[in-house]
Structures are given as structure tokens and as C-alpha cells.
């Protein structure tokens, strides 16, 4: 058993919100540098050059990478041997978000119909998972609206072929991708249930960008290559580099089901995590 105080959780969340606002997630910069080499379009090259320059300024001056500092999507893995003391964990997370977003944009409304801004960017979207061990792992994925709103899910027939899934993904990129600030990162969830596929698609974005999942690496490669043939290019203005990476997570599912969810993420991919 090990005690972890909610005040530690609050502080960690606050620090992660701050740091993620001006830091590209691990792996993105390398892919951007590669993209600059591969891009043939003059406009595309200029855009990627700006994106790289932006990341350097943001990091140096601790300025938000993007003005849309997002809604905070928080992943918490709680070791089953850890005891949380000092308060309620969700409250601590939201207090951390409120503190961490003080000088960032407040982009959350309390009620989706009335749309009154909560003015402190809370509440966060919180995914909790119980895992082995004594630790608590907290990951923060600030999610901008532009990319998030382009996401899609489809319930396929269980007899659908791999090609059908690829076609759905590529067509969705063609129709929606230009508004999601390409070059994109695609989080894809295959299997589970309607809700779980969407969760997997988001979770896929927390993997180190460009790192391979050995079960899905071939499919990821194939989709990436198809997506980069669409010609959409940086900011949708034409070019070779439409996506930097495709990350897939899969899960067992019902014999009649084959859900496929695509969570769009932009090049301004921000994700930071810490283990307490």
C-alpha cells in the first residue's frame, strides 16, 4: 500500500496543463522534420517550416503552440495498491485543470445547449483505469476543437474487409481533413463497442508518436500511405504530407460488431504524462 495525496494530483495536473500547452508531444518534431524533406509543394513546405518555427518559439518562450489550448482530456491509471487520501480524485483533477489553465484560453461550456463558458476550462474529460502496482499515472491530452470535430465512427458489418475499413478512413480524411489542420495524426480504434472504439481512437493518440504497435503496424503503414496519396497536404492546400502518423488500437468485440472510430488530431499534438 502507498498513500498519494490529492494535492499531489492537483499540482501534477496543473503542471501538465501548462507544459503541454507549449510543448509538442514526443516524436512529433522528428516527423515534422521528415515531412519538410518529403513535401514537394512549395506552399506545403512553407507551412511546415512555419509549424517547426512555431514549436521552437512556443517552447522557448512558453507560449501556447496554438491559441486553441483545448479541452483537457485526462487519462489516469490508478495502481490498485495506491490509496488516495486528502479528497476526491476527480475534484483534484479539475482543480488542477482550473489552475493550469489560468493563462490559457478557456474553451469549455457547462451545458452543450445553453453554452455558458465555465471560465476556468473545467470540467475535464476524465478516463480512469485501475492497473497493477502502487503508482498513479496521469496523462493530459489537450484537445482542440478543429481536429476533434472532424472525427467519425462507423459500425461495419462483421464481414467487412480490411479494404472497406481503409476506404472509410481515407474518405473521411478527404472530406474532413482540411479543417483539422493537417499534417494530421490519426487515432483509430477498431473493435470493442460503439463507445469503446471511440475511446480507443483517443487512447491511440497517447502512444509516443511514430512508435509502433506490433499488432497493427502493417495496417498503420498502409493507411498512412493511402492518406498521403490524397494530395490534401499541409492545411489542405495541396501536397504530399497529409498525415504524420496513424496509430491504431484494437479490442475484442461482439461476433456481429466491427466498430471503427477515427479521432482526428492536428500537427499541434500536445500530450504530457507523469507517474506519481
Amino acid at each position: 500500500m502507498r498513500e498519494i495525496n490529492t494535492s499531489q494530483i492537483k499540482q501534477a495536473v496543473s503542471d501538465l496543463c501548462q507544459k503541454s500547452s507549449y510543448t509538442l508531444a514526443d516524436g512529433v518534431m522528428d516527423l515534422l522534420r521528415g515531412a519538410l524533406k518529403n513535401e514537394e509543394s512549395k506552399t506545403g513546405k512553407e507551412i511546415i517550416t512555419q509549424i517547426i518555427g512555431n514549436a521552437e518559439i512556443a517552447q522557448k518562450e512558453k507560449l501556447p503552440l496554438c491559441q486553441d489550448t483545448g479541452i483537457a482530456v485526462v487519462f489516469i491509471e490508478i495502481g490498485q495498491e495506491a490509496i488516495i487520501v486528502g479528497g476526491e480524485i476527480k475534484e483534484a483533477v479539475n482543480e488542477g485543470v482550473s489552475q493550469g489553465y489560468k493563462n490559457l484560453r478557456k474553451s469549455v461550456v457547462l451545458n452543450p445547449i445553453d453554452r455558458i463558458n465555465t471560465k476556468d476550462n473545467t470540467p475535464a474529460i476524465i478516463h480512469e483505469e485501475i492497473v497493477d502496482g502502487y503508482n498513479i499515472k496521469i496523462g493530459i491530452l489537450p484537445k482542440g476543437g478543429g481536429a476533434e470535430n472532424m472525427s467519425a465512427i462507423k459500425m461495419f458489418l462483421p464481414t467487412a474487409k480490411k479494404e472497406d475499413l481503409i476506404k472509410f478512413i481515407v474518405e473521411t480524411v478527404v472530406s474532413n481533413g482540411a479543417k483539422a489542420c493537417p499534417p494530421l495524426i490519426l487515432g483509430i480504434g477498431i473493435g470493442g463497442t460503439f463507445d469503446y472504439a471511440a475511446y480507443l481512437a483517443k487512447k491511440a493518440l497517447t502512444r509516443k508518436i511514430g512508435a509502433k504497435n506490433k499488432d497493427t503496424v502493417e495496417l498503420e503503414k498502409e493507411i498512412l500511405s493511402q492518406v498521403n496519396k490524397t494530395g490534401l497536404g499541409p492545411m489542405g492546400l495541396g501536397g504530399r504530407v497529409t498525415a504524420l502518423a496513424v496509430h491504431i488500437e484494437t479490442h475484442p468485440c461482439h461476433i456481429t460488431s466491427l466498430p471503427v472510430a477515427i479521432n482526428f488530431e492536428c500537427h499541434a499534438h500536445r500530450y504530457q504524462e507523469i507517474i506519481l
Binding site: 507560449l63 496554438c66 478543429g146 482540411a178
Partner: protein, 200 residues
Amino acid sequence: MKEISTPLDDKTIKSLKAGDQVLISGIVYVARDAAHQKGIPFDVKGQIIFYAGPTPGDPIGSIGPTTASRMDPFILPLLKKGLKATIGKGPRSEGVKKAHKKYKAVYFTATGGAAALLSKTVVRSEVIAYPELGAEAILKLEVVKFPAIVAYDSHGGDLFQKGRKKYSKLVTIRHSRGSGNPFNSLDAASSLPAGQAGAA
């Protein structure tokens, strides 16, 4: 890169072609969803509206373009009154594209997510209307060499379409039986559907 300054005259507008990279200097107004809904209270003649919602800062925090198509329902009356350009990201509706030709105006895109870099071009910022809207208030900015790309020009040119056509290697994707999905060939020039929210 072409350097242009505001207010924009007809000669400048005419000279701009889809695909041109420009550096904008002068006054640029910032307005987005809520401000458009309330009404644009300044004289738009010859002006540029930048669709954006910055983070807090002095003179401004990070600032970059938001999805322009969300402002499509509001742009026609403004173009009629002489608005000459907007800055945003992403493609807009066919109707709005055509209106740029009719009213001799230009739609620029700036790099979404390059908001720290773009903020360096802002030398002055002032809230001129709707301060209660916070990040959605109307701002008057003075910018120096703000980098933008002509997406729609005043002659009907469209860089989204032109660019994609040039670089698309995709003709069709093979379809397998049993999926229940109707086969559609994925044409390189297929149009972009409207109705998506977009944001920033």
C-alpha cells in the same frame, strides 16, 4: 512573397492569385462566431477580418486562424458592404467561394496551430467591441508582415482544389464484397462536404 498593406484597394485584390504567399501589414480586425452573431459594428470597407480567438497576453497571446466555414452564414452582407478579405483556415462553401469572385474579395488562410509564431507579427491589439465575449471579443490589431496564403482569389481561383488535384495520386480504392458499403470511387477532385463544425 508579396507584401501588401491594409486597407486593401481593388488593384491589390486583383493582383492576388490563389497560391500566392503574402505578408500582410496594417490593421486587421479579429472576430469569430459570437461577434458575427451579435453583428459586426465597424465599417468593413476595404478591411480584413481575421477569424481567431487568442489566448490572453500582452499585446496578445498566441493567435491563429479558426475554421472559416463556421462564419459562412455571415459573410455575404459583409462582402456587399465592401469587406475585402478574411483570414481563416479550411475550405468554405461553394456559395462563399463564388461570392469572392462576385464581390472582388480574397480569402486567405494562415497556418493553423502556428499561433505562437503568428503572435510575433502583432504589434498592437485593442478590444473595440463586445469585451464581455472574452476570447471572442472584437479586436483591432496592428500587424507587421503577417504570413498568409491566398486560398480563394477574386477571379474564382481555389487553392484547395488546385493543390489537391496536383498532388493526389489516388484514383480509386478497391472494394471487397460483403461490407454492405456502396462502392464509390474516390475521385481526386471530389468536393468537400459542408456542414462540419470545425473549430479552433
